[in-house]
């Protein structure tokens, strides 16, 4: 006997995490990936990685400084952020994150200051209105300290990656989030996005030539391959394990054309970045960079906004149109604007491209 049930009366629940959350997870992921990208060239003195590493350091700093602002903005009571430290609850991954984020950002700033100290010294010699500030931040090259700080920051970066992934993964009530692959997907898309960001910053903020594209695109192709493999594994698990979490998630998003459009776009952008990076690795960094960034952002949008579109008890999908105010569109634009402002400040204050190479004698100690 066929039965048709029609929901006559139920209510839409507003999403608890606004697009600010998407921005936070996007930016902190980019900062994490960018920092990893700095390690060979900056912390361990691999010369071939150095230009890309410097662009990545700019990205790691800018994203790392803006991400906590986005996170704070997603709180409905941002003025009470001190409660994270006054009443921490050890059972909550979010509570641990409140300690991991400042540890990571603090270590990253220290790492960057030590890495850039010789550049500040060289730039301070040339005078100008910023010379006093640069003199204050200047210092000799300290390769051993830099390596140690790199490892300390790496540890802190891993705690951030761990908490951001697990914090979302443990939410059993949202099948789309509650899969063991999710933290790995966050990491893989963050790595791809951060390589894309480094390629864009190298070209447009640091004025480096297209020769940097070869290394960047090679890495990007690898990261994109991992993203595609993880996506394929997710769908494979969903089909092969009918009672598994991935199958639960797919069953819930099955009727959502919006979700499938986002997922298809995400897959398309990743594959396109992969193909372009492999077929034409030089001179295309701006394009592969944009594609990778787009995919990294869209992955988080699909997970967070798409995940909250699904009622936990009701039928169908919640209709959550993007609000135009600070809680929606303006929040996204505002975060992007803040990121650009920080990049402008950092590129004004820090001698990223010119003086760094002027100071080669002092930094040659870290050479391979």
């Amino acid at each position: 006997m066929s039965t048709e049930i029609t929901e006559l009366l139920y209510v839409t629940r507003e999403p608890a995490w606004a697009p600010w959350a998407v921005q936070y997870f996007f930016l902190i992921g980019l900062s994490f990936g960018s920092f990893l990208l700095t390690l060979p060239g900056i912390a361990f003195g691999r010369e071939t990685w150095r230009p890309l590493g410097r662009a990545a350091l700019l990205g790691a700093l800018a994203c790392g400084l803006v991400a906590p602002v986005a996170l704070l903005s997603d709180l409905n009571q941002p003025g009470r952020f001190l409660n994270f430290y006054l009443h921490p609850a050890g059972s909550s991954w979010m509570a641990w994150g409140a300690f991991f984020i400042p540890a990571y950002v603090g270590a990253l700033i220290l790492y960057a200051l030590v890495a850039l100290a010789p550049d500040f010294a060289a730039a301070a010699m040339s005078g100008g209105p910023l010379a006093p500030v640069r003199r204050l931040l200047s210092g000799p090259a300290r390769p051993r300290l830099l390596a140690v700080l790199g490892l300390v920051t790496l540890t802190a970066a891993f705690t951030v990656a761990l908490y951001t992934g697990v914090e979302v993964m443990v939410v059993r009530a949202r099948p789309l989030w509650n899969t063991a692959l999710l933290p790995w997907q966050f990491v893989a898309t963050a790595l791809a996005g951060s390589i894309g960001l480094a390629l864009l910053l190298a070209r447009f903020a640091l004025g480096l030539g297209p020769e940097i594209d070869a290394l960047g695109n090679r890495l990007l192709a690898l990261a994109a391959l991992v993203v595609v493999a993880l996506g394929a594994a997710w769908f494979a698990l969903a089909f092969l394990q009918p009672t598994g979490p991935e199958a639960r998630a797919l069953a819930q998003v099955g009727g959502s054309s919006r979700w499938f459009t986002s997922a298809a776009w995400l897959g398309g952008a990743t594959v396109a970045a992969l193909v372009v990076a492999v077929v034409r690795p030089v001179g295309t960094g701006w394009l592969t960079g944009l594609l990778a960034l787009n995919a990294a952002w869209l992955f988080r949008w699909t997970i967070f906004v798409g995940g909250q579109d699904m009622p936990k008890t009701g039928a169908g999908l919640y209709a959550h149109p993007l609000a135009l105010g600070p809680e929606g569109f303006l929040g996204i634009v505002g975060t992007a604007g803040l990121f650009l402002a920080v990049v402008v400040i950092l590129t004004t204050l820090v001698p990223w491209s010119g003086s760094a190479e002027v100071a080669r004698p002092s930094t040659s100690l870290v050479g391979a």
């Binding site: 209510v11 608890a16 409905n76 059972s91 209709a319």
Partner: protein
Amino acid sequence: MTASRRDFLRSLGRVTAGAPVALAAGVAPALAEAAPVHHWAMVVDVAKCIGCQACTVACIHENRVPENAFRTFVTTWEVAEADRISTAVLPRLCNHCDAPPCVPVCPVGATFKAAGGEVLVDADRCVGCGYCVQACPYDARFINAETRTADKCTFCAHRVAAGLLPACVETCVGGARIFGDLADPKSTVSKLVTERAKDVRVLKPEEGTKPNVFYLGLDERFASRVDAVPTLWHPAAERV
């Protein structure tokens, strides 16, 4: 006087009798230790619910629930089977679970299990992060747009403390909602849960949350996420 109210008042009497004397003698801590522990619960007899939403309205008025948010709601479906069409209803509220997923995720300990088993929110401590809203499998929580903190059904803890029934129970036209103390074996809720154990269901048992809201006569098809043609209602979207 309904059975729910009668046994509810009886169980309150067990706590408050003798309290003034004890307090006067300066033995309040001893009293606190000796006080019987409640285990508040609700039984919803679905067959008695007429879907009038009086509970929804009473809750909104009692708890000043803002627009677009509900602490309790009666979901209503049309069920078409062969040539028969019927209506199904399901009053929903926080299940005040014994294994609440919302409690461990709260980063500042603002969400907690009270002594009587109610899951409550310390609105002065809550940072409004929304993590508990995500973790609740029943969509029973929301961020209050006015207080900017997590909000949910409290079993009307303020009324219960004053010896009153929760507003939804008080107003229920058909007497479908029965509130009481599971720790008292003589209470109606205890008797219903034990004597009609075969008929008793909880929502989403697969989540392992051990709810304290029990349903009598609940069709299994409505216990979890319902496979239905959706008609979600968004009050503010309909305002002209």
